[in-house]
Point group: none
Amino acid sequence: MDLDLLRTLVVNHSTKIVLCSLDGLGGLPRPGTGQSELAVARLPNLHALAARSACGLIRHVGPGITPGSGPGHLGLFGYDPLRYLVGRGVLEALGIDFALHPGDVAARGNFCSVDGGGRITDRRAGRIQTDVCVRLVERLRQIRLEGVEVLVEPVKEHRFVLVLRGPGLSGRVSETDPQGLGVPALEARALGPEAEKTAGLVNRFVAAARPLLADAAPANMVLLRGFDSQPALPRFPEVFGLRAAAVAAYPMYRGLARLVGMEVLATGTTFADEVATLREHWSAYDFFFLHYKDTDKAGEDGDFDAKVAALERFDAQLPDILALRPDVLVVSGDHATPSVLKGHGWQPVPALIWSQYCGADPVRHFTERACAAGTLGLLPAQDLMPLVMANALRLTKFGA
Amino acid sequence: MDLDLLRTLVVNHSTKIVLCSLDGLGGLPRPGTGQSELAVARLPNLHALAARSACGLIRHVGPGITPGSGPGHLGLFGYDPLRYLVGRGVLEALGIDFALHPGDVAARGNFCSVDGGGRITDRRAGRIQTDVCVRLVERLRQIRLEGVEVLVEPVKEHRFVLVLRGPGLSGRVSETDPQGLGVPALEARALGPEAEKTAGLVNRFVAAARPLLADAAPANMVLLRGFDSQPALPRFPEVFGLRAAAVAAYPMYRGLARLVGMEVLATGTTFADEVATLREHWSAYDFFFLHYKDTDKAGEDGDFDAKVAALERFDAQLPDILALRPDVLVVSGDHATPSVLKGHGWQPVPALIWSQYCGADPVRHFTERACAAGTLGLLPAQDLMPLVMANALRLTKFGA
């Protein structure tokens, strides 16, 4: 569904929507058992909700394609993730809660080690401690480049983010990381005439960094890649006519929500904190994006039992969300993280939409297998939001 | 999924993939029984595999569209058959194992009968015996045209293939077959300025053939149609990063595999020979396309029981394929050939994907009806390969 068309159908209403994204929700059977994390977990509240909901499976990018967190969430927010791309540098900035401005160019930086001839000997500077990274970033903050602001932020270990802010910048710049050892860092090159200025600035930044880090071995040089400017995304509140708020304990997800123009609410570090935040701000917004991270973490660790436990903890909080009496409640995720894969997977993700008008189907369990038989079918992620809007009675008819 | 995008996600792995194409796999119930060939056949191995696999139905071109063998297989190989077209002349050449070169123009030829005034009296020359065709093709091979090589190959009965090889040729040439009787053969016309030279050469070929065949009634003239040059297809081994081999007893399927850049392995005439070939070459390739013809032949003959028997013979060989321990095993087909239709059908074709990560669904039988409830859903054929690649852990994630 084209967002420009959808926008013309939006009408006002007082209905309230909650979109729960269980990060890495979908799973796979533990070998030999035929039972996935969702099938094993005791989820009385989720199963009861599924029985009253329309269920299905969400596919985020395409068949067989494993979504990153960026495309996974953009899809849930209604954006075709193949059309609206978010690059590495921008995601890295979002991941540390850095508020990018339109026109900013962000890059992922690594401290690295070079020998006396400037040849790279370790692309990650022996994974220096984060406190060393913080101190070295302080040095890099001394760099001044004419006509732009230079912003440097530490991330974790050897990683940092570089942001250039000013007029006429472009992210179409080649990386300086040669992706190998025994060779010097590359010059940044413009990948189009519009990026000449930016490439020049990047090379001056690197030239200025070199003497500042000369005595800082093993972190005596920098590599930059993933240059990117913030994509021009249609703003979620304007497209959908929703006062939209994000509640997420992890910075990456706050950043993705901010990228589409949602307001980000201050919250604590636990999911119980998030639910409390939801409750506090209930009257002020029409739409809440509520992010739950634990499912993904357990899946990434390959810990089947921990993922089961994380699902059960979400289930225990579900009554508190239902008690707010949302008009539309969605439970799904941004991608699968099957414990057996120890990482993101390509498998479609269970989804349920509950509303008074959802047309509940015969699905009685919120599992991958049961949802495969639901009436939502195999739904492209970007088709979810139009359905949510319809269930919230916030779309008028198309054509007279 | 766009192949150019997919290509950027491909990563190396040591996994092995077998794609079994059961030609004309899908069927229809025998009237009055409600039971298709797959439902009637005793298929213990296929059903057991289906129970451990993700199942679904594959649609090759579009709803209601009956695929030819070309589009049917291109879809299985990951190519959108509506975008990548293979014409009649090229398929005819592939069908006799003729190794086309890039730039060749191929046409399907018929010997036909003409009266003293050159008017066609039989478009198929009374379906002359193949040995007559072979002798008359020898005559046509005397024809020399300036600037191009003229290659003529007998097919079966009245059919032959004409290939022109040389610079500056184009397949955009109109047919010489008027598709009716009592009129002379048509002049070939260029359908675009780039085909002027080719049309001229074709007309000179026909003019030279006429006196050579004057005494050969009923095969005293030729008709040419389906002019075509080999399509420029992205090469399968490069797109998917797979060392790919084809094992097929029938030339048409070897030709289709060669067209996308697979290596064609020498094999015998039976499916047991093919499985032996698979075993011999197991270590040298990552991907095997294994073609089984008998299902289609029985369906084309309208012989329900023979198709049941053909399915059972495949089933009996399946353990030998499984014994090789592929990481991903796919069983599907290039199109349906329901016995009741005595020809290709438009019905979607059962498919299963087995891997350690396939996420087996509740489907327990490899039949049209059971597969319709599988988690692969109704899958466009070109979406199969991305799923296969994901199951082989040969795709990285999209977006960070």
